[in-house]
Symmetry: C2
Subunit: 202 residues, 2 copies
Amino acid sequence: MDRPADDLNARARIRDAAMKLFTERGIEGASIRDIAAEAGVSSGLVRHHFGSKQALREACDHYAKERMLQIGEELVFQGGAAHTNVTTMHPIMLPLQTYLIRSMMDGSETATALFLEMVDAGEEFTKTLGTAPSDRRAYAAVLAAMKMGVFVLRDQVSKAIGEDIASPSGYARLTQAALDIFTIPMLTPEQLEQLRKYSEEH
Amino acid sequence: MDRPADDLNARARIRDAAMKLFTERGIEGASIRDIAAEAGVSSGLVRHHFGSKQALREACDHYAKERMLQIGEELVFQGGAAHTNVTTMHPIMLPLQTYLIRSMMDGSETATALFLEMVDAGEEFTKTLGTAPSDRRAYAAVLAAMKMGVFVLRDQVSKAIGEDIASPSGYARLTQAALDIFTIPMLTPEQLEQLRKYSEEH
DNA sequence: CGCTTGACTATACGATCGTGTAGTAGTTTG
DNA sequence: CAAACTACTACACGATCGTATAGTCAAGCG
């Protein structure tokens, strides 16, 4: 059961269409008429259900955030906190994440709030790490941004690896690559020392 | 010397204003009239110099790409390939990167081409690593996307750590955090094994 | 039955969009 | 000096935007 039961009515279809087009074309780039057409309804019905474009957007924000938290809880229940915090990549989340980033870039408070909650959770997670980063807050913030960033550039990453990252095969490569990045030290201690010296000089 | 010499004329001011507003509001969200006002010229002059909004955008794409490559070369010359490939974060690049990502998300071929070049360079870099990732291509693609992602969510990361990541202090925390993420293994070998088993089951 | 209510469509409104055209001031060029 | 060119502004055009209004249709209910 992927969605709530009574979620196939016109209101839900409009919301889904809005999230799709907002993601693909940006908030300003997706018109209410286009969204209505995508949902198979008149543009007047969009206004009837949501009042304004801004209100429609906020409804999408709240829905996406709720679904993200809901799916996140399910994943922690299934796979444990370590798995969830390290990868936090699940195919179901993909459209939600891409939408939320688009909305965040255009100044959504709801989406930004969700991001900050993710940073909070990530900061807690750092306490379970063997070697602690010196700046937990910055570590968690950058990590969260990096994980989201992969999905911002979904099309570009897909093009780079030659297959859609939403496909089972592409997603597997994506997950493994992220795991490699997060678990294999990128520099030898010597390189790290050299880099540290360089930083001090500049 | 930060910029070419004759770069203060109206044409350059329009281009800079366009990059600023495209970044802040998205391509569709920034009108030619707004861009002209930001540059302190008439909207007709924008058309005179660039012909159309699409052509203006492509001019911005090319300029941003050129500057990125130029700055990248300077950084390699100054600090060496290891430093450049691991962090690839320089304050000067920030506005260029944020613009290019915006443009990439709205389907810019030039920006996508630059991303693919970054992936190519990153893939070469993986050959200098001690422990090789199994899938170099995916590794480089995900790494490039992650590094870009931090700048997509610039405002959100800044909010999370309590200071602007463009400030010297915030930028230093950002760089150190990225370095920690890339050099400190996030999981113990035991956790990694557990995660591997979990993945096989699902 | 008549009446209300909610889902839905059709159509019209100002505003703003990208674009096109005409024209001016200043410099260059033959 | 006149012609040509360049940088620039002013203004008008259709199209499309978000929004508003009026009306249709079916279901529920006294």
